[in-house]
């Protein structure tokens, strides 16, 4: 077994009196796709926000690629190799599609000069299926296409770990299949992924392993099939009656 790329130990975060994340411990292997699932408000996005230093944790250690990243500013976490998308899509409005992705390329872990970066941006836009729309203002794209831009922006950074926060939510069945294929193609590149997702079909077909959160605690861990048939998980999602 190789050394994990990300190690999270005893992570905790409290908002007011509410424990959003409660002594959470998990690891992500190199090239692994980890599903982070659980009902709304179970602390999934909070975990992602702590990992990317959007806000600090109250306790716990996070090591990434052998380095402690707690206390680093957000931009250094990104340069260290963790890139993310946002739950509610956040394109850089007023800028072109290509420039949106270019930002990720020249400031992320890739840190490439502008001229070669532009070439790479074209490739990435082709990859996510926006090849012909590089010079359009990003505001003019549909919601789904803005999600593609965001994925390209995250990939442009050359991350070792990619955090997808409900990236597949809100897609229609055709788009969903295309999205799953796209994410699957990323797995082939040795990229580790944490997938926060409610679309169970996507979780089943993409994740190597899943952990299930309720109230900030891990209640189950294992393969998607095993986890999704687990009685406690069903109870967490559907309430006591449903199980």
């Amino acid at each position: 077994m190789s050394t994990p790329i990300l190690n999270v130990t005893d992570l905790s975060k409290t908002f007011g009196g509410l424990k959003a994340v409660d002594a959470l411990t998990f690891a992500v292997e190199q090239g692994e796709t980890l599903g982070l699932i659980g009902p709304n408000g179970s602390g999934k996005t909070t975990v992602l926000n702590i990992l990317t230093a959007a806000f600090p944790s109250d306790a716990g250690r996070v090591t990434f690629d052998g380095n402690e990243i707690a206390g680093m500013p957000a931009y250094r976490v990104c340069r260290a190799g963790i890139a993310r998308t946002f739950q509610l899509v956040r394109p850089l409005k007023g800028m072109s599609v290509a420039d949106n992705v270019l930002v990720g390329r020249i400031y992320g872990a890739a840190a490439e000069p502008i001229a070669p970066a532009r070439k790479k941006v074209r490739e990435l836009l082709d990859l996510v299926g926006l090849g012909g729309r590089a010079e359009m203002p990003v505001d003019a794209l549909t919601y789904i296409d803005q999600k593609r831009v965001e994925l390209a922006r995250a990939l442009a950074a050359d991350p070792k770990l990619l955090l997808l926060d409900e990236w597949l939510a809100g897609l229609n069945p055709t788009e969903l299949e295309a999205g799953i294929t796209l994410v699957r193609s990323l797995k082939g590149r040795g990229l580790a992924i944490i997938l926060v997702e409610h679309v169970m079909h996507a979780v089943r077909s993409l994740c190597d392993r899943c952990i299930v959160l309720t109230a900030g605690r891990c209640i189950a861990e294992g393969s998607p099939e095993a986890v999704l048939t687990n009685a406690e998980v069903k109870r967490a999602y559907l309430g006591d009656d449903g199980a």
Partner: protein, 319 residues
């Protein structure tokens, strides 16, 4: 940066007409003081001053959306440093000292407010002109015993013109390179969504602080170069809040986010204010305020914004 320069050189080699045009324009600009009277020259000095200040404002506030209302504070600081130190220092040394002072003041302001949301920065800069003015007045009363200073540097209107021209050219070169470089991209990203910017690897605080301080240097130097227009200055002349306002109007009128925006705004605005201030001196501020509000409500994208929308509509194929 070197790759950028090479790219620009390469590009300009392909456009000899543009290069020649710029050269001719420059030669005309340099020769201008020999062929006009002092009234016209003074107008041009005024214009260059506002072009530099409005462009500096645009480079930081226009891109990042952190609205600075402190242009007059930096202008006044520069003017006062020249009044206070002009007799003791060689001109080049003086300019360096003035530039550094502007840089340091901007660093202090930036370090304490730029890490917070934009509104804190705006509030701070709103009071900054009054603050610097109060400190200068206090210093003069306590230490020197009198408010107001004589300026001992003798400069003709033409001297001021050439110095301002150099400053403007330097600013345009800096601005041009800045906006094309990775920093320019970062500035626009910060203006669009600061959270995304920092999660994309941009050192948001560093970029904001650096560019704010850099552009403040140009505002401070404008004050220093323009100061010899007056032989005597007192705080109300040097720290004129209306000047901050005029700079803001010009930048918005031209169009924010584009290097050429401010210059498009400065010329019409200056002509209009020249007319209004002689025709209706008592109502000048009111008219200025109304004009500004009209811009904010009706052409938030400025003149260039209007032109761009028009072109986009014309070029877009109709369904």
């Amino acid at each position: 940066m070197r790759a950028e320069l090479a790219a620009i050189l390469e590009e300009s080699r392909k456009k000899p007409a543009l290069l020649i045009g710029l050269g001719v324009l420059l030669a005309l600009a340099i020769a201008m003081p020999f062929s006009v009277n002092n009234y016209v020259l003074s107008f041009f000095n005024n214009m260059l001053g506002f072009v530099v200040m409005a462009t500096s404002w645009m480079l930081f506030s226009g891109t990042t959306k952190y609205i600075s209302l402190a242009t007059a504070a930096f202008f006044g600081l520069g003017a006062y440093l020249v009044a206070g130190l002009g007799e003791f220092l060689l001109y080049p040394v003086l300019i360096v000292v003035v530039g550094l002072s502007g840089f340091l003041v901007a660093l202090v302001v930036g370090l304490s407010t730029l890490r917070l949301s934009g509104v804190y920065f705006t509030i701070f800069t709103f009071g900054l002109t009054e603050l610097v003015r109060q400190i200068v007045t206090w210093y003069q009363v306590k230490v020197l015993g009198s408010v107001g200073s004589y300026i001992f540097i003798e400069s003709t209107a033409a001297d001021i013109y050439w110095r301002m021209l150099i400053l403007a050219i330097v600013l345009y070169c800096v601005g041009f390179l800045l906006l094309r470089s990775r920093i320019g991209l970062a500035l626009n990203a910060i203006g669009a969504d600061e959270t995304v910017a920092k999660h994309s690897g941009i050192n948001v605080m560093g970029v904001k602080l650096g560019v704010f301080a850099l552009t403040s240097v140009f505002m401070t130097l404008t004050g220093a170069i323009m100061a010899p227009r007056w032989t005597y200055i007192d705080p109300p002349i040097a720290f004129n809040v209306i000047a901050s306002f005029e700079v803001l109007i010009m930048a918005l009128l031209g169009g924010v986010g584009r290097l050429w925006g401010p210059i498009v705004g400065v010329v019409p605005m200056l002509l209009v204010s020249e007319y209004l201030s002689t025709r209706f001196p008592n109502y000048f501020t009111i008219l200025l305020g109304l004009a500004f509000m009209a811009i904010v409500y009706h052409i938030p994208g400025g003149i260039l914004g209007v032109i761009e929308t028009y072109w986009r509509k014309r070029r877009a194929p109709r369904p």
